[in-house]
Symmetry: C2
Amino acid sequence: MNQIKRVVIFGGTHGNELTGIYLVKKFDRAPDLIERSTFETIAMLANPKACEIGKRYVDTDLNRCFLRQDLENTHLSSYEALRAQEIYRIFSSTKAQKSDLIVDLHSTTANMGITLILAVQHPFNLSLAAYLTSVYPELKIVASVTSNQDSSALRSISEWGFTLEVGPVAQGVLDARLFQQTEEIIGTMLDWVETYNQGTIAPIKSPLTIYQTVRAIDYPRNEKREIQAMIHPDLQFRDYKPLNPGDPMFLTFDGESVLYEGKSTVYPIFINEAAYYEKGIAMCFTQKQIVSQLAIDSWPVVRAVPRARPFSV
Amino acid sequence: MNQIKRVVIFGGTHGNELTGIYLVKKFDRAPDLIERSTFETIAMLANPKACEIGKRYVDTDLNRCFLRQDLENTHLSSYEALRAQEIYRIFSSTKAQKSDLIVDLHSTTANMGITLILAVQHPFNLSLAAYLTSVYPELKIVASVTSNQDSSALRSISEWGFTLEVGPVAQGVLDARLFQQTEEIIGTMLDWVETYNQGTIAPIKSPLTIYQTVRAIDYPRNEKREIQAMIHPDLQFRDYKPLNPGDPMFLTFDGESVLYEGKSTVYPIFINEAAYYEKGIAMCFTQKQIVSQLAIDSWPVVRAVPRARPFSV
């Protein structure tokens, strides 16, 4: 069993998501909060310039800059492309200064509570997720179907990296309760890694619910790409709730409902995320999966499979 | 009694407050929705460039550009300063093309529901406010103590102008329910103006509750102006609720409560508004006033008085 040697906590990958930024600042002032005996922990602002101006990004979304070909492309010149290359040089799993575990702190305007987004469904990740949900039953687990190799997200440069997403909270706003909950979960996560390193992890008996991303859904738009409808009031704030065929999804500005015409029940997340209007995403459909029995000594490797439309957060 | 000749509905004074922007676009497509027989109605984006880039402003906050000296200052060159001068030239009460009533549509991340912010407490405004609260009991009325002459807000260039503020909604997000409620209230307001013009307004018997702005409160900050605390969870989302001496206001990042040390009960609004972090405003204290009996034939002129610290929204 490989030991975790270093955990890197990134905040401010998006400069207007304050929870992570102020947590990193706090850990900077009080590093003992994230210190553990068997590994090193680093807290760092991923996009300091964006944090300074309080915007998601300066030139381009940093959390879409980690595709392998972009990280090796010497012709890129945007602030974020270069910053991604810098982060990759320092922390990539393939480098000597190996970062074993990246935790990337984000926030969302969607009503997603606290969500762990796993880069890959590796047994390490799954066991950590199962443990955290046993302590925090309200915590949600989302799994992307992109492999790290094909992902543009910061978390993907660490083999078992993940995103901690908290919401709903407006961009540029600190929500004290979410701040405290996030801090507590980070502490519990670090404690678990410590136990993992010490080889004393107890197997989790309870089944784990995973929301597997399926595809991103755009707003209805006209030929000029202007949106023609809003998230339906009956769907607003209902992240992780079942959306059944025939349920309302959108409401046009003239008050007409647009229904979900799919054939099977899905579980939308990132419903009405502010930053996704420009990306053409109104929500992301997920499927609910139950993973039963997670014994750390019987880790199966769950393979990532390509998906219909890239969706990263 | 002066008749209202024109109503101007502004949206997009801040380019990331989508409710007003999409309402103006809707009224543009369907002008019959805002047409009435006794006056003209115009719907217009106040800051089209900011709307295009989806940011509050391009160079500076447009809703702070309407001070009389700035409107006449030929040395100003920011996009918003010039746009304010352009709007003033077209719609100022003092000009030939007189705009009788400006309605400025905004949104806030604070939990303020739907709020009417009156530029001045003129009997016209008060009667309209009283009527609207009789139809929509949940509607809140805020009065600024700045006179139009001393105000930097867009609404101030119209004698009886007001702001319609809706929340909570994140910047860059459309909330369908708030969109529909705002549209309905605008319709009711236009109907009332029609009745006013026809001289058939019935006096409002029920008392009117007005939240009078007192002063803006900043976050605790260090010598570098960095914030040292968040809105306390017990205060978050409690706009318009009483804050009593000794109640918690802020929570430091280390978990210590900062209490309200004032001597009298206040009613905070704009609690945790995203756009006010950079302005040094964590919330605005108001005092609750009850105005009893509002008969349109006994309109007293309520004078604006200078306030301790300018607060405009």
